[in-house]
Symmetry: C2
Subunit: 352 residues, 2 copies
Amino acid sequence: MAQRITLPFGSDFHNHLRQGVMMETVTPLIKAGGIDTTLVMPNLTPPITTGTQAMEYKDQLQRLAPGVEFLMTLYMNPSLTPEEIKRSAELGVVAVKVYPTGVTTNSQWGVLDFKSYYPILAAMQEVDMVLCLHGECPSDPDNNICILNAEEKFLDTLRQIHVDFPRLRIVLEHATTRAAVECVKSLGNNVACTITAHHLYLTIDDWTGQPHHFCKPVAKFPDDRKALREVIREGHPRFFLGSDSAPHLRSAKQGEKPAAGVFTSPILLPLLATLFEQLGILDRLEDFVSNYGRRFYGLPSRAGTKSINLVRDELVVPESYEVLGSFQGSTAAQIVPFMSGKRLPWRLELSA
Amino acid sequence: MAQRITLPFGSDFHNHLRQGVMMETVTPLIKAGGIDTTLVMPNLTPPITTGTQAMEYKDQLQRLAPGVEFLMTLYMNPSLTPEEIKRSAELGVVAVKVYPTGVTTNSQWGVLDFKSYYPILAAMQEVDMVLCLHGECPSDPDNNICILNAEEKFLDTLRQIHVDFPRLRIVLEHATTRAAVECVKSLGNNVACTITAHHLYLTIDDWTGQPHHFCKPVAKFPDDRKALREVIREGHPRFFLGSDSAPHLRSAKQGEKPAAGVFTSPILLPLLATLFEQLGILDRLEDFVSNYGRRFYGLPSRAGTKSINLVRDELVVPESYEVLGSFQGSTAAQIVPFMSGKRLPWRLELSA
C-alpha cells in the first residue's frame, strides 16, 4: 500500500479564474491543488475576445500566482477575425473556446452556426491554435434535445469540424457521456478530450437536490461515469485533466436558481488520487494529470520529474473559502468546494 | 375563444397534506384550486399504518376543510396485516401506498421486496382496495439504475403484480416517462395512472438549477412530456389527475440539499386550464380532472355538473404562502408555489 506518490506538478487544461475579488481569491489556490500550469477560460464579463485582452488578463493572474503558468484563450464570437487569430498566436494565446449560445455561465455571446466561423478555424489551423469546444447543443424541446442528450447531439458537429479541418487540434471539453468518449476515441490524433475530477465522481443522482454538485454539462448515468473511468484506466493518451473548476458564491449556488459549476481547483490532486486509488489505477495518475495533456498541447514533457508528494495522511477539505474584499465575513460570500468538510486520505506536500 | 368553462369540482388522486402547521396552512387551500375530493398520502412522521390512524388524520383534515372529501390511504410496511387491511377497508380507507425504500420524502420505511407483501395484496384484492405505487426502483450505480431510468426499470414489477393480482386495482402514480404511459396502456382495465400538473409543464431542463421545480420522480426528456400530453389528448380513461402537490418550506427548498416536491394544490385548475388551452385540448379538462379518476376509484359520477367556473381573466399566482404558527413572518417559513408570481389567463370562480 503506497504511502507516498511523487509526481510532477499537474497541468489543468480547463479552469475558470473569474474576475475581481473572486479571481483574487481562487487564483492563489491553484498550486495547493498540485497544479502549476492551467488553461484559463475566457468567459468573463465582457468575454476575452482579443489577444491584447488575454495578455492583460494573464498579467493580472500572474501577479496573483507567480509560480503558475497561465495558458490563455479567446472567446469565439462574431468580432473575431483571422488577423486577430494570428496576432493572438504571436502574443502567446494557445486556444479559442467555443460556447454554443446559452448552454452555461456567460455563454450568451456564444456560437450557433459553426460554418460562419470556418475562416477563423482555417486561421487557427494555420497557426496551430487549439479549438476548445463546449460540446453541447442548445436545448430544443420540439426536437427532444435537453441537457441529457445535448452532448451526444453535438458529436456530429465535432466530427464535421474534424473532417473539414483535419490538422486543427480540437479538445472536446469536460466529456460526460460514453457517446462522447467513444466518438473522440474514433477520431484522429488531433482530437482530444478533457475530463473533470467531479464528473469522475458524480452521476445525476448526486446533483439532484445538491446544488454544489450541479454543473454544465450535468453528470449523467452511472454507465457514462463508467466510460470516463474506463478510458483513463485504459491509459488513452488523448484523454486528460481539465478540471472545469468553476467557483461561485454560496449565495449563487443556494438560492432560487443555483448557478452551474463545481469548485475543485485547490484540492485537485488529493481528490484525484483518492478516486484513482479506489479504482485501482493510481499508476495512471501522472499520465492523466500531466503527461497526456502536455503532449497534446505541445508543452515540454515533465515525465518522471518529482515536484510534489502525495502523502497518505488526512486532508480535511475546507467547509468553504472566504472571498476576499468587501463581502468578507458573510456566509453568502463563501465558495463551497467539492467535498466540502469531507476527509480525503491523501494530502499534498510541495517538495521545493 | 371560450371566456368561461364550467366544470364539476375536480378530484385530485394524489396529495400531500403534511402535519402540524404545514397541514393547517395547505389544507384550507385545496378548494381554491377547484378541488373538493382528494386522495391523501400517508408519508407522515411516523407514517399512517393503521385504519384508526388514517381516520384520526382524516378528522384533523376535515376540521380544516369541511367541504372537501378526503380519501385516506395507508403506508405499506412490514407491520401491516391482512386483518388490518380488512378493518381499514371497513373504516373507509380506500388505498395503500407503496414507496420503494429511499426514493422520496419520508420513504425510509418503504418496500424493497414485493413478494413478501403478497398476503397484503391478496387481502386488498379481496376487499377491493386500491394499490398506489410510487413506481421507481432505488438507484443502483453498479446496475446503471439512477433517477433517470428508475421509473422504466420499475415497470416489470408493475406488470408482475398485475399478472399475479389481476382483480387488484393498481395506480401507477405520477408517471413521467413514455415507457410508463405505454406500459399502463398495454395493461388491463384494473391498472391506471395519475399524472401531475407540473410534469405536464416541465422537462429536466426546467428543474436543473431551479429547486422549486425539483420533485421525485424528476421530470425527464421533452419526448416523455410529449407522451404524457398525448395520452390526455387521446382521452384515455385510465389516465387522470393526481397532483402530487407537495409543500415544503422555502428554507428546505433553497439550501444545501433542496427537498423534492412541487406545490400546486391552490392553483390546480387554472394551471391545468392554461396548459390544456395551449395544447388545444380544453375539451379534455373535465374528464382528466374529474370523470376518469372518479370512475376508476368507484366514486359517484359528476359528469356535466357545473360547480365551478373558470373565467378568462388574470390569476396572479402568489409569490408564496405564509406558513401559520410560530414561524410566521420569516421568508424561510414560506411555501413557494409552482408558477410563483406568474400570471395565468384563467381564474376560478366557485359558483355556490
